[in-house]
């Protein structure tokens, strides 16, 4: 049965590029991952992830239980985003993974404490040598452990890359421009001046 009634997570193009940009700025050529918040909306089990923002995050590579996420920054940035995008709500978080780590259960808990009922967790592997930018989506479910303790664990959710017509037009346009040799030549000619 779908976790928390979520049947699909649709990640929009802007989020893919924002996460790529965040990774490039902070973690390129390191073993670090980056973490940020996801904004969007859900309707009848479909969660649309339409926007995102980076948050200051650090974790100890030798001790997975030691991590830091700037709550104050998160709250402030969310408040700022809400002023220009009133319909977009905090719906989860992202990381560039590639794996799920101990801190992620903590971040899920943090978002629950901030009123996000069913946070989705999107892992986008944007490392340049990895083909196809693999996307994994998760939500937590309560499970009973062998020690009869109830704890939360991540389970996979189905996902897709989705775009509205406007977004699709934008992406197609970008690809055409970016691959146009005349554009690159113009660029080269101009930088040679």
């Amino acid at each position: 049965s779908p976790i928390e009634g979520i049947s699909s997570v649709v990640v929009h193009p802007l989020v893919m590029l924002s996460v790529t940009d965040h990774y490039k700025r902070v973690a390129m050529n390191t073993k670090k991952r980056v973490v940020g918040m996801l904004l969007g909306h859900s309707h009848k089990g479909r969660v649309d992830v339409v926007n995102s923002f980076a948050v200051p995050f650090a974790e100890d590579p030798t001790d997975p239980k030691v991590w830091f996420l700037d709550h104050f920054y998160l709250d402030k940035m969310y408040k700022m985003f809400r002023k220009v995008a009133i319909k977009e709500k905090l719906i989860g978080f992202y990381s560039t993974g590639p794996d799920v780590k101990a801190a992620d259960i903590g971040i899920d808990e943090l978002l629950r404490s901030k009123g996000v009922a069913h946070p989705v967790f999107v892992v986008i592997d944007v490392r340049p040598h990895v083909e196809g930018m693999p996307v994994q989506t998760y939500a937590t479910r309560e499970v009973m452990t062998d020690a009869r303790v109830v704890e939360r664990q991540f389970e996979h959710l189905p996902n897709e890359i989705g775009a509205s017509e406007t977004e699709e037009v934008a992406v197609e346009h970008l690809l055409r421009e970016v691959n146009d040799p005349s554009v690159s030549e113009l660029g080269a000619a101009l930088s040679a001046k």
Copy 2:
């Protein structure tokens, strides 16, 4: 001669999609335009516009001299962005145009007063029925008017859509996914549930 030594303005894919998203949220199916700030860096006359954020903006359609831009929001958001993207500086502003309006000279002046030496102004026409998302870039130059008054006027700058290798890979991946009929079918199947 190039205005203020700027030989080319390179607009990166993330900015194109962010502006599209901003327009869709706020101004779709209206005659309004949206305005936001541009972040990036310049080197040897080449200005790279790598990121952006929306700002609350309004203007009176009947009186071009009446407009409002939330300075406080701008300052706060810029400060927030700097915490996660230390190398990206405020370098100008965008609008979805399609025309340059009276308020734009005022916004240019505002950015100068905030320490941006040579603001670039990027107009991206993202209206869905307009083919190719036309991009126009400008900077202001001081000119002497007939009345012997010195004032600033916008002049065109050459521009291109540019992408680093990582960005290009991301855009190509997006286009593949977004056009993949199996993905859309999965989406349709899931929403039908």
